[in-house]
């Protein structure tokens, strides 16, 4: 939830951590282990995205939460209402809907005894894909810029009875991103316009494995831990994003137009296992915000990849959503992400922010071909 426009009164409120949060947090080491040994080809989703922004359909060019602003559009930084914008850390856990019950069964003390066999996991993957991941960040941002560090791990397992070669296949894709950013922004050359830049250092690996289960040679190849660890040899690269924002503010109505250029001139990677270079992507966004001093409704539409650098289909390049911010400590959002409905909520308890979101991500460039229902739980500490 963004606090960029209004100085909202924040009220402390004690809130116990839900048992489901704890349960999934306990499952994290299991997912981390999976990521360490297997990990996927990069899709078009951003390298870092805030939970509340995802809930609002990912339309974040004209309004983004906390550290997400530095990567969504650095030109957002000057419009924070005060010099200080964000200092803190965040952790979010992603898991697809179908795997929640399976993840719980893997926990110590669960009815299955806390130990799940490999065959049980394979059976689960053949029934429904498995996606899990984490995202963390630590950042300091003010209205002139800031620095930040982030990491993102995600593993996606899909089993196809009729795989790419015709035989049953397990397809394993992963993302392992870590990076640091330095941002600068200002209201130049005139007030309604702001410009921003974010420099990025990225350390990435995106292995992708397809194991034909009818081929003993393929199975034995990936039974060797060294063969798996070789797949996560990271590549490094540096690049930068440019953003511009026109912000027309009224007493109850604001208008915003954004232009964002990701990876200006392209971002090249070296070393490791040949991560594809990032192409330059141009995106635009527009939004309208109805607000009082304490509440706001933000309606936004983004058009990503307008020059079709990745030949992004319309249902993925069009992002739209609504954020409703109430009294400074509650936010709810809904939108369309990858063409599917998304929604979520966030609670702001001054130094602690709790967020939940649900969305459906399309892994392919064709609607309905390989989608994942994803739950996200987010915990941010900072102010």
């Amino acid at each position: 939830m963004s606090r960029t426009d209004t100085s909202l009164v924040k009220t402390a409120r004690k809130n116990p951590i839900e048992s489901a949060t704890l349960a999934l947090a306990l499952a994290l080491p299991i997912f981390s282990n999976l990521v360490a040994t297997t990990v996927s080809a990069r899709d078009l989703s951003p390298i870092y995205e805030e939970t509340f922004d995802i809930a609002a359909g990912g339309a974040s060019l004209t309004r983004a939460s906390r550290y997400g602003a530095a990567l969504a559009n650095p030109a957002l930084l000057p419009f924070s209402g005060s010099f200080h914008r964000w200092l803190g850390s965040e952790f979010s856990l992603h898991i697809n809907t179908e795997s929640v019950s399976y993840a719980k069964s893997m926990l110590p003390g669960a009815s299955s005894g806390g130990a799940s066999s490999d065959s049980g996991f394979v059976d689960h993957v053949f029934e429904s894909p498995f996606l899990a991941g984490t995202q963390t960040s630590f950042a300091y941002l003010n209205s002139y810029g800031g620095i930040g560090f982030f990491s993102k791990f995600e593993v996606d397992l899909e089993a196809q009875e009729y795989g790419p070669t015709g035989m049953p296949t397990i397809i394993l894709k992963g993302k392992s991103y870590t990076g640091a950013t330095v941002s600068a922004a200002g209201r130049i050359p005139f007030m309604p316009l702001s410009l921003g830049v974010t420099g990025k250092y990225l350390n990435m690996s995106e292995p992708s494995i397809e194991v034909d289960l009818a081929d003993p040679a393929a199975i034995s190849q990936y039974s060797d831990p060294s063969a798996l660890s070789a797949l996560v040899n990271p590549s490094t690269g540096t690049g930068f994003d440019l953003g511009a924002l026109v912000f027309i503010q009224g007493p109850n109505l604001d208008w915003r137009w954004a232009l964002k250029i990701d990876d200006v001139g392209g971002t090249s990677f070296s070393g490791g296992d040949a991560v594809d270079d990032f192409k330059q992507v141009v995106s635009t966004g527009a939004s309208v915000t109805f607000h009082t001093g304490k509440d706001a409704i933000h309606i936004a539409v983004d058009q990503r990849d307008v020059q079709k650098a990745y030949d992004t289909p319309a249902f993925k390049s069009t992002r739209a959503g609504v954020k409703v911010l109430l009294r400074g400590y509650v936010g709810i959002a809904a939108g369309y992400y990858d063409g599917y409905p998304s929604y979520g909520a966030e609670l702001d308890l001054i130094f602690l922010k709790l967020g939940l979101a649900s969305y459906r991500r399309e892994q392919s460039n064709s609607p309905g071909l390989s989608s994942r229902n994803v739950y996200i739980m987010n915990l941010a500490t900072g102010f």
Partner: protein, 247 residues
């Protein structure tokens, strides 16, 4: 703007969230359901993949046959079509995957039994049609150029094609043999049905087994062991096979 607008908007948002959480339709689905987002037509390969993921093998067969006719040089589709034929024949691909590590039994009948359709409940003609479908699976793989079904090739499709060929040959031989040890009228195993097996049938079965053994792969050794057992009879091909099947 007063609080009333916020309440109305929040209520609207909650209704949207509740309504949108149902269903799996996408804004990009065709035909287009809205004027704002252009629909994304599925390519031929995407349609094939969707049919396969949905286990709609009949649709997948139609799509693959059309795609191969249109682009006969796109060899990545051949193993898919072969697998679809095998699936339509009742061959359990998933079961075969979970048992590849234990494929080396002494008898091809015992090794393959768990993955093949049971003749029970079928007429002879229906079971024969399934054998023909398995034959189509084999023929589809054999239609690939030699370099696309070679284990020495690093191409994953080529390696998989060899595996598939061996598996489907072993499966067809087993189904063929089972047809002569099953009474389709009573729906029970019946060795007396071996009297219906002709010399040509026996020769065809042996030829398929020989190919399966020569191809190696998961069931190559088992096929070879079965051939050796059959040949140990010392009689004619038909008699040796009949003795093997009745034992």
């Amino acid at each position: 703007m007063n609080l009333r607008y916020i309440k109305i908007s929040t209520s609207f948002l909650c209704v949207w969230i509740a309504a949108s959480s149902c269903g799996t339709s996408n804004l990009g689905d065709c035909p287009a359901s809205n004027a704002l987002v252009k629909c994304s037509e599925l390519s031929a390969d995407d349609q094939i993949r969707k049919a396969l993921n949905d286990q709609d093998l009949t649709a997948a067969q139609v799509l693959l046959e059309a795609a191969i006719t249109e682009e006969p040089d796109n060899y990545e589709r051949y193993p898919l079509l072969a697998a679809v034929y095998a699936g339509l024949a009742g061959f359990d691909l998933l079961a075969i995957a979970s048992s590849t590590s234990s494929g080396g039994g002494s008898s091809i009948m015992a090794a393959m039994d768990a993955f093949l359709p049971t003749p029970a409940g079928l007429t002879r003609a229906e079971y024969s049609a399934k054998i023909d479908l398995m034959g189509q699976a084999i023929a589809t793989i054999q239609a690939l150029p030699a370099e696309y079904r070679a284990t020495s090739d690093t191409d994953k499709y080529a390696a998989s094609a060899v595996q598939q060929l061996g598996i489907f040959q072993a499966a067809q031989a087993t189904m063929y043999m089972k047809m002569f040890t099953f009474n389709f009228d009573t729906g029970l195993p019946d060795a007396t049905q071996l009297s219906n097996m002709s010399d040509a049938d026996a020769a065809a079965i042996l030829a398929i087994l020989t190919s399966a053994a020569a191809g190696g792969g998961v069931f190559g050794e088992t096929a070879a062991a079965t051939l050796a057992s059959i040949s140990a009879g010392g009689g004619s091909v038909r008699d040796n096979l009949a003795n093997f099947l009745s034992s």
